[in-house]
Amino acid sequence: MSETWMIAGAWIAAGLTIFLFSFLYKDNPFFKIAEHLYLGAGMGWWFQVYVYNILGPKVWTPLVVNHDWMVLIPAVLGISLVTQFIPKISWISRYGFTFLMGYGSGLAIPASLSTDFINQIGGTIKPLSMMASMTPFAIFNSLLIAFGVVCVLFYFFFSVEHKGHVKTVSNIGIYFLMIYFGAAFGNTVMARFSLLYGRFDDLYTFSDKHYFYASQLIMLAMVVYFLVHNFMGKDKKEVTEDEAAG
């Protein structure tokens, strides 16, 4: 029984992968099937995550089992957001939103102040605290980073028009940014390729006779569909053009 499920799973996995990749050719019904299935499965997955990981252990159990009534406060604030859908009492949702915004800002402001300002300054100047034991290259490296930080910040300075020397400095900042973006692009593309290899590896595995050549057969069926659809579509187009001419 489990063997049958394994083979069925392989056909579904290979099928959905090829359906999604078929978008590279053009939009088609197979892609639409995969797209809608993905959307529904995603929603279903998150629904059960919310029920079993949040609603159950953080609201239901504390309230019903442990009788921890303090949980009512966040629960009511959360439910107040749903009142948006009932126009007469939608004003109640403002309490929930106000709390969310206040809580979010209170959490974000000290953290970003610490990381974006103080940590940035400290991190830039700290390497030079070991000046006495640094090699000339390490000193140059630290100064280059500090110079880069100042130039990049100049680019994002909106209070002055970028003309003359300010423009020169901000242009140097752009070069620093481009070097970073190039490195980030290469790094992320490498990661994406590893994901692609993972899908290819699965397709290769499912192309085995053990899985009844799932990958090849699905791909072949799709090629046949596209060929037939293309010819039929061409005929239809010709008929329409003839009708238009007639």
């Binding site: 993905y38 300054i121 100047i125 000046m131 910040l153 994406r192």
Partner: protein, 424 residues
């Protein structure tokens, strides 16, 4: 030649003899004590609750003694019982672990090297629940070879502290920025504030005009961030301005959402914009619609919509992750004019490659202010500029002071500078 060599050898021997005599005559105080004195127990041991923390950590202090040489070891024991149950928490050479090793800034802690200071994190031995609010007992054992000497037992109850004096630098900076913000708001209301031109934003009119001419919709994506993220808030402001122009041109806009709360906020924003543009009749409730809260389901679905409807323009403003290229690539293939903006720096390269205009990081925040000329937003932008100015000036003077201080071995001075710019 031979005579000279002999003379040199003789001179070297005399020097060596003299040096040996000097060292023998003046032995180091620690060495002298170590050889002469027996191993004494630690006297004057005190324990306090570790200041400015969440609790669960005790701080032991005792004076540095002349006999604290590397061959002597201190062992710190902790117990939750009044008698017995000792756990060895720390062990270190006696010439280490002084006040300067405690990671607190100069305004919150005396970095004295005359005192041993040892942090004991009780969470590691008794769990989080027990380690705060319960009494704990400590003793220190000095060990030298086979000799040991135990101190008296001291006790403490650790507590969670309300105020983090060690983060005072954060508070001071926050206060400076708050004062600057209020000044900027009043200045913006009275005289207005200058913001330089942002290139990507001039293209918004072009994109909306194109959509109107072609009779095709505009897609506006707010990203996958929650409403508490700054980029999402900035995106909602830009959406307000974009939808106002859309209403004026009687064009069509669609805003697919990932987050239901962001959707609710954006609904209000778009509705308000249509009202301000004098076109409340054109507003439809389905301009903003929910797609999915699963990242790639959202991307697949929006990709499908873009490829089928072939919009005239796509806006990607807000917080984006791996779906950035998936969305922007499909938009580019469908021939839409694309304007993107995000503060997620590692996604920016993908927007550069697939979009016509890209707002980088701070430009996204500035965009809302630039478009609306709202005094509050303009003031926020000015305060951000002030923050950048503080960073630039601090980096400039910081590297000079720290570099010179480190070069001249002014360690306390360097520590003061580093403490001032330490984030916690």
């Amino acid at each position: 030649m031979n005579v000279m060599t002999k003379n040199k050898l003789g001179f070297a021997l005399v020097l060596l003899f003299a040096a040996a005599n000097t060292f023998a005559a003046k032995p180091g105080p620690a060495a002298k004590k170590a050889t002469a004195d027996p191993l004494l127990p630690v006297a004057g041991l005190t324990v306090i609750d570790m200041p400015y923390d969440v609790g669960g950590t005790a701080l032991l202090k005792w004076d540095v003694r002349p006999s604290d040489t590397p061959d002597v070891t201190y062992q710190v024991y902790v117990s939750s019982l009044e008698t017995g149950g000792w756990i060895k928490a720390e062990e270190f050479p006696a010439d280490t672990r002084t006040g300067k090793d405690i990671d607190l800034p100069f305004w919150a802690w005396d970095t004295s090297i005359k005192e041993h200071a040892v942090k004991v994190e009780l969470n590691n031995y008794y769990g989080e629940a027990q380690s705060t609010g319960s009494p704990f007992h400590f003793k220190v054992t000095a060990v030298k070879g086979k000799n040991t000497a135990e101190s008296e037992v001291v006790s403490v109850v650790t507590l969670s502290n309300w105020f983090r004096l060690d983060r005072m630098n954060n508070l001071v900076l926050l206060l400076i920025l708050i004062i600057a913000f209020f000044w900027a708001v009043s200045h913006a209301k009275r005289k207005g504030l200058f913001i330089r031109r942002i290139a990507g934003l001039d293209a918004i009119d072009e994109a909306i005009g194109r959509a109107t001419e072609m009779g095709k919709p505009i897609y506006y994506m707010t990203g996958i961030g929650s409403m508490s993220q700054i980029s999402t808030i900035a995106s909602a402001f830009i959406l307000g301005e974009v939808s106002k122009k859309v209403a004026q041109y009687d064009s069509q806009i669609k805003v697919p959402h990932y987050d239901p709360i962001v959707m609710t906020v954006c609904k209000e924003v778009v509705k308000q914009s249509y009202m301000e543009a004098g076109r409340p009749d054109s507003y439809r409730d389905d301009i903003n619609f929910f797609v999915s809260q699963d990242q790639f389901s959202y991307a697949a679905s929006v990709d499908g919509m873009i490829s089928r409807e072939k919009p005239a323009a796509c806006f990607f403003m807000g917080y984006f992750m791996a779906e950035s290229l998936l969305l922007a690539e499909v938009g580019a293939t469908s021939g839409a004019i694309q304007i993107a903006g995000t503060d997620v720096e590692h996604q920016l390269p993908f927007f550069f490659t697939a979009c016509d205009y890209t707002l980088m990081g701070e430009e996204l925040y500035a965009a809302g202010a630039y478009l609306s000329k709202e005094p509050m937003l303009m003031s926020a932008l000015k305060v951000q500029d002030l923050g950048k100015l503080i960073v630039m000036v601090s980096v400039l003077f910081g590297i000079i002071f720290v570099g010179v201080g480190a070069w001249r071995h002014w360690d306390p001075f360097v520590q003061v500078i580093l403490n001032m710019f330490k984030a916690y």
